[in-house]
Amino acid sequence: MLPALPIVIPFIAAALCLILRRNPLVARLLSLCAAAALLGSAVFLLNQVAGSGTQTLFVGGWKPPFAIVLIADRLSALLLVASSLVALAITASWFGAPARSEDAAIEQSLFQLMLCGVCAAFLAGDIFNLFVWFEVLLVASFALLAPARNRAGLEALARYMLPNLLGSFLLLSGTALLYAIFGTLHLGDIAKHAAQAADHPALLPTAGLLITAFALKAASFPFFFWLPAPYGRADFPIAAAFAALLTKVAVYGVIRVTLILYSPKLGQVLEPMLVGIAALTALGGVAAALSAEKVRHRLSLLLVGHIGLALLGLSLLTAEGVSAAIFYLLHEMLVIPALFLASDLFFNVADESQYGPSASSRRLPRLLFGAAALIMAGAPPFSGFIGELLLLQACLEKSRFFLMAVIAAAAIGTLYTLSRIWVDDVWTAPADALRSQGKSQPRLALLAVTVLVALLLLAAAAAEQITGFTRQAAEELLSRRGYIEESLYGS
């Protein structure tokens, strides 16, 4: 029952928000409560997983391997907790924006649906189920971008839609071919037969299709050109939600598929491919961020670069590498919405010369932005630094000195870009600024960002426990023991 909760809670909340759409404030409150309940269930699930191993749920009571199974292993549980934290912060920060009639309630409903898709994708133990949840979250994200009344907004939506649709088609094709090879859709079953199927001529193209599809959705090289368009245009909580959730689910997809299909023979071909994609994404994203002009674009492209770094950790295919990748992913999931939300408490997105209400009310957002930027840039002793250190150690272990240079270059680029944003846009804000839309500084949004930053600081302090847990998660993933046993012969 427990693994189904993270899917059921947002789904019910989405339905209720639609029913209550005449009352947008109630809908927002409902959304907030649902996010809190989701966080509670995710933490409880994490507790269970840490205590008694992988949790499974066979939907409908069918027997394995025919059942559609929801599996929560350590990686899924960690990502669920991070996603629900982000969701709570975003639903809280929505309270500052004006509530225009029914649109605000429908927006909440769509956000909960997107959240449902995200959580379910983390829990899916069946490759087709994974595809379906990806579609759910994709279409929900389209609909969240759709209310843009102007041409530029719709253009951004079109620019977001087409590459992601192509990614979906590739994902479905990969799923079909996977079924053709293995005769089953069940990830545990596939993992069990992965070594025997290593000689199948169609295995490499299938793996390539699946990884390409997820890489496209995760905005890695050479598919990251769609990312700045929607992130630059969306309203502030939506952009933060996209940044924190969508690309991370795709990276989770890459991790899952690579490690399920992994066999030494396949790994020989996959590893250079993954290393190449990851390194080029890291360098390309950071380079593009250096040359971008608007704050939102810079932050989005930095996000792309950091996803490249996480993929770099994965491509090492060792326990240290995957553990570093997971840690970095968790850190990114918290720091990116903090940056987006803090910067939007500060600027008006469409026109960056308009600053927030008064100088004194900008002090706290400025401080929060600075703290989050320091954490992201990898300043010791915060979690960004720890993540990059773990990645460097993992590369050192395999004597990949070139990759260490790539990581260092990406880190320096990040530091430079964030410093430029700070100097150009944040520090030099004029004392008397124009009022932005007459809204006062939303307190809940400030609280949300403060909590995110505080959590990041806590993560830095508790880094040893967290990395111990991610190390266990990585070992579990690499051995796939938990997945095969629990999912096929589960509780």
Partner: protein, 114 residues
């Protein structure tokens, strides 16, 4: 060995991607539609094509006589068709709205103002 179905899938993919590279947004729509069909046909083909019986059990606990069609890809296909339909409907609305706002369906003209 059946060559027709895979060739058809490949041809549909090629046509769909070709249309996605055209200037007119309406061609993009058609490209998406063709890609949906291509992917769905691939799901169907990948499950194995048999000129056999329908996969319906004649009685409790009895299997239909071999060879029977594999029901699982057909179930996947149904889901995929519905998903594709929803996406195409959304894309049509988007293109229409964009055309109304911008007065043109030319992709180059639309991005010129970036």
């Amino acid at each position: 060995m059946n060559y027709l179905a895979p060739l058809l899938v490949g041809w549909l993919f090629a046509a769909g991607i070709y249309l996605l590279t055209r200037r007119n947004l309406l061609r993009h729509l058609l490209g998406i539609a063709l890609l949906t069909h291509a992917t769905n046909l691939l799901v169907f083909t990948a499950g194995g094509l048999t000129r056999g019986q329908a996969p319906i059990m004649p009685g409790v606990g009895k299997l239909p006589p071999e060879p029977y069609a594999d029901p699982l890809p057909q179930a996947l296909l149904l889901t995929a068709i519905v998903i594709g339909f929803g996406i195409t409907a959304f894309a049509v609305t988007l293109v229409y709205r964009l055309w109304k706002l911008a007065g043109t369906a030319d992709a180059d003209a639309l991005t010129a103002g970036q």
